[in-house]
Amino acid sequence: MTLYVLRRAGLLVVSLFAASVLIFLVLRLLPGDVAQTIGGIKATPTQVAAVRHDLGLDRPLTAQYGSWIGGVVTGDFGRSVLDGTSVSGQLAEKFAVTGPLAVGAVLLALGFAVPLGVLAAVRRDSRLGGAVNALGQLGIALPTLWVGLLLVVVFAVQVRWLPAQGFPVDGWDEPGRALRSLVLPWLTLALSEGAVLLRFVRSAVLDVLHQDWLRTARAKGHTRTSALLRHGLRNAAVPVVSVLGLQIAALVAGAVVVEQVFVLPGVGQMLITDVGNRDLDKVQGEILLLTGAVLVIGFVVDLVHRLIDPKLRSAV
């Protein structure tokens, strides 16, 4: 197991490095000229050159990359060239919104996708199972942002139980209001993530249902339900966990959209604002942060996958 962890950790470091180089190159090589954007349309060539020098853009690429990544390693993810705000300075505050949003949504998605997926598999020939499966199919086709808008129409406009958008200015100092403003975003994100999970849970459980060892468990006196609970679900969880890992990228994208729909001041909204302002230094850091998160969570999921898979564990 230690060897596996080390090898997988090495792979993670290589992936993070490759991602950072990719982001750096795309943002540094492609743009016509950042300095031109900052200097404005009327800037003379000398002024543009001065801006380039100030930003360090006239240094060789490797040196630029080195100083950027050096900053990243010490926790400096970039600074706005427009207003001087820094990613790291805003991160804690923004993450206090995005973190709970993402974690809560995943838990909620698992909370309904697992039981419903098992139900759809076990009762696959009944009308109920078919209906659950069809709902999952429909859920995948629903755009996250539209689900959000529909929930707003129902819960904020029609019955007025919950706020339509926004987050309290004092953040989590007002826990009640903060929680209330996260309810609809949680539901939105959980529904779109959960629909995909539901389908995978269903097919994983279907797979397990046909295994010989499950029949053996029945022969040993387990009822259908207890055999499934004691042996089936553990095994069905293996592919579901790896799907969860693949879903992280979708979750990040979903969070960005949901924050925009509900006007939540999180990491996603910071990114959208900075992209709108074409504030490349910050965008570079933020994108690295988000893809880094995807890669790191993927790493953790892989380890969990390894731990829970009975076949892989016995080989360790």
Binding site: S15, L22, L27, P143, V157, V275, I287
Partner: protein
């Protein structure tokens, strides 16, 4: 070659999901085509005297928005940018996916491993983030959206295509072709591509559905095709502020997106079943000969 494809078509229309998918995609394509020659009103023409008309009033089937623009005309025209983005993105995804997949299986092993690793790193970039990088640099446009969706979906296609191509390359008939003196490219053209085509086509129909969703999200965020082009995502964005007054106006564009996505998804399911059926038919035919 023409016989099996007509057989696939028949099998496709016979399966329930294939039929439903074909109908929904047909409606999307038809809306886009019709909007080229006719819409009830000019979709971008603001007529303040007609603002906020309810459905079926003043000659507007689905009503009008704040600026008095006809909702149905906007929906029909929006089908155009949805379809265009989806098709272009799928084309890019096919090229990117095939190139990465073939690069991974055909070159010396250590380069192949690097390509695989590179693909896996790219998969960690959500489509939305790729689109945002390109938008930050160039500003939002049709082609930044198309490129982002195409590349983002293409790396996922690459993963599937790589596995298929690897499988085909390991078969006896490829070995036989090599023994008979067939070069790498000839093998790829004659054996690998035709054999991974069914899988690839199913994957691409799924890319189309992902692209429709992504296009809606991007244009909602303001990173898609800029105005005056009409897109469903931007209609949703524009209507969000008036959701209290006219909730119906956010229902229609969303429904249009859902139907298109569902259409491509079901079409993919149907194609998969049809391709399986074709394989079964071929096997059955081959048995008596053997």
């Amino acid at each position: 070659m023409s016989v099996p494809s007509s057989r696939v078509l028949r099998a496709l229309l016979k399966s329930r999901s294939g039929f439903a998918g074909s109908v929904l995609v047909g409606v999307l394509v038809l809306s886009a085509l019709v909007s080229l020659v006719w819409t009830p009103y000019d979709p971008t023409l603001a007529r303040p005297q007609d603002s906020w008309l309810l459905p079926l009033s003043g000659g507007h089937v689905l009503g009008t928005d704040r600026l008095g623009r006809d909702e149905l005309s906007q929906l029909l025209t929006g089908a155009r940018s949805t379809l265009r983005t989806a098709l272009l993105a799928a084309a890019i995804a096919a090229v990117v996916g095939l190139a990465l997949a073939l690069a991974a299986v055909l070159v010396p092993r250590w380069i192949g491993a690097a390509v695989v690793q590179f693909t896996d790193v790219l998969i960690a970039f959500p489509v939305l983030l790729i689109a945002m990088i390109l938008t930050a640099v160039y500003g939002g446009s049709t082609w930044t959206a198309v490129t982002a969706i195409g590349v983002g979906a293409g790396v996922n296609v690459a993963r599937v295509a790589r596995a298929e191509a690897g499988r085909v390359l390991g078969t006896d008939y490829v070995l036989a072709a090599h023994a008979a003196g067939s070069g790498t490219w000839r093998t790829v053209r004659r054996h690998v591509l035709p054999n991974i085509a069914p899988t690839l086509i199913v994957q691409l129909s799924l890319v189309l559905s992902v692209a429709v969703l992504a296009e809606a999200a991007l244009s909602y965020l303001g990173f898609g095709t800029p105005p005056p082009a009409v897109s469903w995502g931007r209609m949703l964005h524009e209507q969000q502020s008036y959701i209290t007054a006219r909730p119906l106006l956010v229902i229609w564009p969303g429904l249009a997106v859902v139907c298109s996505v569902l259409g491509f998804n079901l079409l993919g399911d149907g194609l998969r079943e049809a391709a399986d059926a074709r394989l079964r038919v071929r096997e059955l035919q081959e048995v008596p000969g053997a």
